[in-house]
Amino acid sequence: MRNRRKRPMIKTYKKLTDMVAEKSFGEASSLQTETFSEEIHSVEQKIERKEGKLSPVLHVTVDSVKKSLGNPVDLIVREFEFELQQKVTATLLFLEEMNDPQLLNEFILAPLMSLTSDKQSTPVPVSHALHYIKQNAVALGRVLDVENEEELLEALLAGFSVLLVEGNTKGLKMGTTGGRMRGIEEPTSEVVIRGPKDSFTESMKTNISLIRRRVRSPDLRVEKYKIGDVTHTDVAIIYLDNIVNPLLIKEIKKRINEVKTDGLLESGQLEEFIQDETVTVFPQFMNTERPDVVVGNLLEGRVGIMVNGTPFSLIAPTQFIQFFQSSEDYYMRYDISTFLRLLRFSVFLISLIAPSIYIALTTFHQAMIPTTLLFGIAAQREGVPFPAIAEALVMEITFEILREAGIRMPRAVGVAVSIVGALVLGQAAVQAGLVSPAMVIVVGITAVASFAIPSFAVATSARLLRFPLMIISSVFGFYGLTLALIVIIAHLTSLRSFGYPYLSPFAPIQTQDLKDSLFRFPITKLFKRPEKLAKKNETRTQPYQVKKKREEETTR
């Protein structure tokens, strides 16, 4: 594993030394091993627990909570009384807008306040109050004990409401999480014509449910992690236990546990922490906001990684070819899917090298252009004062500026920018003698091509690589371009995603997997899961067996 990020390790190390200083925690010789850092982690937690035990006196606890949170305006402290053996004071704590008021009122406050001693067969002592409430009064699904202040704070911040009862050293946290979230909508970045129209939202719970609904298998595993010393962001890995390679899971867990950061706001940040190679322009994770894509990948033995707060989940490991596949490919007929995949790949090539080819042709290899066309191009270029490379760079950069402006600008000015843009990139630029018409066509086709690539991530790498390729082909023509492409191919083959070759199934060639790469064979032929990925369970349910069975049944 080359070039793994060292930073997380160092941070662990720092924390460790603090621990050692404070708690004289054994020898610091084996600091680099992970088991050690895990141990430290648990020790840390234990210490915190000891420190913050809840006080049986109600207002002491409440004051302490208020103090810890800095007495925020959205912390609601609702005091009330109810009756057991005698009158008991209780407090309900919650953060407004993170909880559902209806749940709080109807299922917690209302039943508790109507508690009277005559309903109880035997009078309940105050010390058993929490247990009694949990069993008899609160009509909610998720009710758990809170042992100490640390847990209490955590529960409050995660959107639970917490019930404290006078004379008890425990509290109850109740799942009343609510508040406004964006609903499930159509995907915006991966639009398909045929296929499910739901997409992930910012809430991880919703996202997991979207997957659960599609995979009704007991083998579906969801494991949660918390990342971010400040944000405590939930991260989940999701996989099918009977298909996935256990070593892969181990490696992913290891890398996720090594992440040390302040906050995690988007899966893109996590991606940068756990990727294999930092120095590359190619994306090493596929991201998707479509649940069906995640499920499809789980079935191939890959792993989904979700981050709370973003609709984009990651797929690991990722191969280069996946960026040219769309979920729709599996829903349409195989012939058109194959055609579209080939088209998308050529579109990638066009957006990568079209300007370079134009530059190389006009600068070095004029002999290769058919004569009539050559005359045309030469006539157009006659009035242009710049060499082809300058022309191309100016146009490409102008286009990049327009594109960036197009994303950021408010809608109202949109029309103005597109008019100006059309003038700059079109007729006016040609008439001013700045560029030749042929160049406008080349830039135009490059631009359109880069939008036709289904994955934005891989389109951006083509966008970046275009410029060095243009420069090298302006100096060395096709020779330089060919060598640069060899370098790119070699770089791609050297990449690995969680140990799986990035360019497989092309290099190394895996004949079985080629069936579902640039081509898509009929679904009845795709009964093998990707080689090496699904170690446990390589064969899918085979359509032929099913078919045979059916035939046998009908003949009887």
Binding site: F364, H365, A367, M368, P370, F476, G477, F478, Y479, G480, T482, L483, I486, V487, I489, A490, H491, T493, S494, P501, L503, F506, A507, P508, I509
Partner: protein, 377 residues
């Protein structure tokens, strides 16, 4: 460090790419006139015999490369000296291909560019790839191979559909008798490209295979396929250009392909051929380069091969310029001097000598051969 092993499929691809690399462009065996294709097949058969010899040595020392078992066969000092000679030979081969290549580009495209720039760019690319490891080179080879197959198939279809071939040019077969063909075939054709398989004596130990016989068959099949492709290409060149022209053009394939003109639209396909040449040349130089690095590693006892890549690269650039004063000198040397005085000793004489020495000292060496892992350390 774990060494990367190539599987049998990759091994096949390396051989084919290596054989076709630059040989497909230059007119092989053109001294035989219109029977050149036959000379190539003869050369291929001889090359296969040589390959059997190299494989025999590999069989005796299955986990050692040439420069390693030389030290076992001849003792440390003589073995290292011979290894050094082979190191020089591999580097010389890389240099020759590099120079061929730079000269072609210079004469065809970059008339005003100094050759050192063209060669440096090539070596820089190869250094980058080799620094990523042999594994990356092999996998890049796999991608290149599929590209070459694609180009080859489409060119063949185009040539056939353009109806350029005049089969009469190939007749009469063996019109001047057998002697001119034999003269053309020996000794030049077996040495290039088939005899260059001697570099695989350095690569055999990286082969991941359980059955040695399979490696042998696949090797021979790969050689056979590339021989047939080469022979067919030359036959096609002759059928398009005519025996006389084909023998006098430097790059017959380039000339033949540039004749393709389908409906005034598909024409000037020589660009595709140049493209193939560049990637073929790249691959061939890379293999020689890597083998030289490995040889230097054994001879000088360097642990990390990556340290040697840069220095050898620089030596290759410089020597590719100093090797000859001009292209004519370079080509004349290549046709008249190199095959007789360099290729034959290194490809035929020395390996035969090694086999003989092995057979004589077999009993004494048994100890080493059976436990190669101890002797490599």
């Amino acid at each position: 460090m774990k060494t990367y092993k190539i599987d049998i499929q990759q091994y096949f691809i390396i051989i084919v790419l290596f054989e076709l690399g630059s040989a497909i462009l230059v007119g092989l065996g053109m001294d035989a006139g219109r029977d050149a294709w036959f000379a190539i097949l003869l050369g291929m058969l001889c090359g296969m015999v040589l390959f059997l010899g190299y494989f025999f040595l590999y069989n005796q020392f299955p986990e050692m490369s040439l420069t390693q078992y030389l030290q076992v066969l001849f003792g440390k000092y003589v073995g290292k000296a011979l290894g050094f000679c082979y190191l020089m030979y591999f580097m010389y081969l890389a240099t020759r291909v590099l120079r061929d290549f730079g000269s072609l580009l210079l004469s065809a495209v970059f008339v005003q560019t100094p050759i050192i720039v063209v060669n440096t760019l090539m070596i820089a690319t190869i250094v980058y790839v080799l620094k990523l490891g042999f594994e990356v080179l092999v996998r890049t080879g796999e991608i290149i191979f599929s590209l070459v197959v694609l180009l080859g198939v489409s060119l063949t279809i185009l040539v056939l559909s353009a109806d350029l071939m005049e089969y009469n040019y190939l007749l009469p077969i063996l019109g001047k008798g057998f002697i001119p063909v034999l003269k053309a075939a020996f000794p030049v054709t077996p040495t290039f490209p088939f005899g260059e398989m001697v570099v695989f004596t350095m690569l055999f130990p990286y082969l991941k295979t359980k059955k040695k016989s399979k490696a042998l068959t696949v090797g021979l099949v790969a050689m056979g396929i590339s021989g047939i492709i080469l022979s067919a290409t030359v036959a096609m060149d002759i059928a398009i250009l005519g025996g006389h022209v084909a023998t006098h053009v430097y790059f017959p394939l380039l000339a033949a392909v540039s004749k393709i003109n389908l409906g005034e639209f598909i024409q000037r396909l020589d660009a595709l051929v140049v493209f193939t040449l560049i990637i073929g040349g790249f691959f061939k130089i890379s293999v020689f380069f890597y083998v030289a690095v490995k040889a230097a590693q054994d001879v000088f006892g360097v642990k990390e091969e990556k340290k040697l890549i840069g220095p050898i690269g620089i030596v290759l650039i410089l020597s590719s310029i100093m090797i000859a004063a001009n292209y004519v000198e370079h080509i004349t040397e290549g046709l008249n001097v190199v095959p007789h005085y360099i290729h034959i000793p290194f490809q035929v004489v020395l390996p035969v000598l090694f086999i003989l020495v092995f057979l004589v000292r077999r009993k004494k060496l048994k100890h080493f051969a059976s436990s190669p892992s101890t002797s490599t350390k």
